[in-house]
């Protein structure tokens, strides 16, 4: 249901419901759910028709002269024309509701006309509008039934209502509105969202633009592409993390996460291959995911706004290898970080991102703890078969396939606490990674959970930061950005390192 494009809300229908009989708690909840959350209008709203019967044998033409028994009246029954009888007229509503599973498409009588006569209680006639049914209304009922189970359910319902906060409802309204009108620019900025609810953005995948041609005169410019140019603005929301659901919108062209509280952008942003413009400014990012760079080089990304952010300055960072202007370590960083001189038309190099430097590689062991590099060189861990292999560890293999399985979401946190602490840590880690949209090795593209290597690459993307307006001028100083790269094994590290490494095959 979630993936379906929501239809416009159906005309409001007053549902009459069997209030004169003690309602079971389950039917209470069913009514609630059916009428509102599913937006299904297949609730019975009309009485069963009254039929009379001529087909009793005694009334046939051939029996015209047969003696008429005293009781031979036309049989009347209340029920459907296909023969279903309503057994007890007192309980007909309930029976009818149980039988009527499929919408027959036949609506008899007016919904409004009979409602009051059948239902003397004014309280129950409000049930159609039960979005506003407060818990107080249900409470006296519950008390009269004296059912503690209902109380429990109500508390559950209460919790659900709290979860769907006003902000989320507001955001949902905006999204639905955009879907309905075919607006491909979804503005959820300053909507006070602390988190993006997981299923909020999914329907946008199916957004279709509506044709703009409504009436004459039809000129050239009214013809526009119906391919949605999906833009999503989540600016000014106080988001602390980006959920994986965002990265399933693979048609997204413009994404703004400006002015939030993000500390990290998940590498899964790479799935948004159609992205053309990203705004990540005014956040708490210290580094960017390397996948953004991939989107620049291999994808469509043309405008990347990342400043201001507390990004790591290259001057303070530890550098293992310089790549620009040459492979040697410069004496002074300020002097080195200059675009090389060129004359005439700008060479391709003046446009493309420049790889300035690479930071040292941090390695992690199979449990995801950083490995002490000094111990690595002398200790037993540096055996060649342990370092050079690309084979994932058994922990990694089972974590990965577990986080892909459907069981993963079904384990409640309470159950997880019973697991051994070591596993608990790994499982929580895996859940975090999965919520962020998963990870793929930046070297070998394999999906993984526990990163085994991490390093920073410094790239100058000045041309992309100003939206490809112009090439770098000769001698322009470079302001490289830190991009964090993750590797899935100790072999998935920068090439330089492998070449110089002693254990290289």
């Amino acid at each position: 249901m979630d993936c379906e494009v929501p239809l416009p809300p159906p005309p409001r229908i007053r549902h009459r419901s069997p209030s004169h009989r003690p309602a079971a708690p389950s039917s209470l909840r069913k009514t609630y759910r059916l009428s509102r959350l599913d937006d299904r209008s297949s609730q019975p709203s009309s009485d069963p028709a009254l039929f009379s019967s001529d087909d009793i044998p005694a009334s046939g033409l051939e029996n015209y002269h047969a003696p008429v028994s005293s009781g031979n009246r036309k049989r009347r029954y209340r029920g459907t024309w296909w023969g279903e009888m309503v057994k007890d007229p007192k309980r007909k509503r309930a029976d009818f509701k149980d039988k009527r599973l499929v919408d027959s498409g036949v609506w008899m009588g007016s919904d409004e006309s009979g409602a009051d006569s059948v239902l003397p209680s004014s309280e129950a006639s409000n049930w159609g509008e039960d979005f506003l049914v407060p818990e107080e209304r249900l409470n006296p009922l519950a008390q009269s039934l004296n059912q503690s189970s209902l109380q429990g359910q109500q508390r559950g319902m209460g919790v659900r209502k709290v979860e769907e906060s006003q902000e989320h409802q507001f955001a949902r309204t905006i999204v639905n509105d955009c879907l309905e009108r075919g607006h491909d620019s979804v503005d959820l900025s300053n909507a006070y969202l602390k988190v993006v609810p997981p299923d909020l953005l999914q329907p946008l995948q199916h957004l279709t633009k509506l044709p703009t041609v409504r009436e004459a005169p039809v000129t050239e410019e009214v013809y526009s592409s119906l391919q949605p140019f999906l833009r999503l603005f989540l600016a000014g929301n106080g988001l602390t993390a980006v959920s994986g659901g965002l990265f399933e919108l693979d048609a997204l062209r413009v994404l703004s996460l400006r002015n939030n509280k993000l500390t990290d952008i998940p590498p899964a942003i790479r799935q948004l291959t159609m992205l053309q413009e990203v705004n990540l400014s005014v956040n708490r990012l210290q580094r960017l995911p390397w996948e953004l760079l991939w989107l620049i080089k291999k994808g469509d990304l043309k405008h990347l706004t990342v400043r201001p952010n507390p990004l790591m300055p290259i001057e303070d960072a530890e550098i293992a290898q310089w790549h620009y202007p040459d492979e040697t370590t410069p004496e002074s960083i300020e002097g080195a970080l200059k675009m090389s001189q060129y004359e005439g038309p700008a060479p391709e190099e003046a446009w493309a991102p420049i790889h300035v430097a690479t930071g040292p590689v941090r390695r992690f062991n199979m449990e995801g703890f950083p490995v002490d590099e000094t111990r690595l060189s002398g200790g037993r861990v540096s055996e060649p078969d342990r370092t050079a292999t690309r084979v994932p560890s058994l922990r990694e293999v089972s974590l990965l396939s577990f986080s892909r399985s459907s069981f993963f979401d079904q384990i409640p946190d309470s159950e997880m606490t019973e697991f051994p602490a070591l596993m608990l840590r790994l499982l929580r880690y895996a859940r975090e990674v999965r919520n962020g949209g998963g990870r793929h090795c930046s070297v070998c593209h394999r999906a993984f959970v526990i990163a085994r290597a991490e390093w920073i690459e410094w790239w100058d993307c000045a041309t992309y930061e100003n939206g490809l307006k112009g090439p770098r001028t000769p001698g322009e100083s470079l302001r490289p950005l830190p991009f964090r790269r993750l590797g899935c094994s100790w072999s998935c590290v920068p090439r330089v390192e492998i070449e110089s490494g002693p254990e290289c095959p």
Partner: protein, 104 residues
């Protein structure tokens, strides 16, 4: 099996808690850090002497998958494109426990 040549023997036996025995090459078994340390000749553990490791807390079903992993690891050790290994989801948690125990 004599204790002297078992340390050089090519195959070792790994026994699950419920009595299933898996005979696998020594180098393959040494993918696991725990088993490698058990079998280290200098350790004088009984496992090292007999070439037989009993893993009481791992069931046969899980140990079979573990051995499959050992072979998978051994086979792909020097490959650049490592294929994925299939793990039935119901075994994942137990395998994770086993992986933790076996240090692999």
């Amino acid at each position: 099996m004599a204790a002297t040549n078992s340390s050089q023997s090519e195959y070792v036996t790994i026994v699950s808690g419920d009595g299933f025995e898996f005979v696998i090459p020594r180098s393959t078994a040494c993918v696991s850090g725990t088993i490698r340390r058990m079998l280290e000749p200098s350790s004088k553990f009984s496992e090292a002497l007999t070439g037989r490791c009993v893993l009481e807390n791992i069931s046969g079903v899980v140990l079979e998958k573990v051995c499959e992993y050992f072979c998978y690891n051994q086979r792909n050790k020097n490959q650049t494109n490592v294929p994925d290994m299939d793990i039935p989801p119901e075994l994942c948690l137990e395998l994770l426990m086993a992986a933790d125990y076996l240090d692999t």
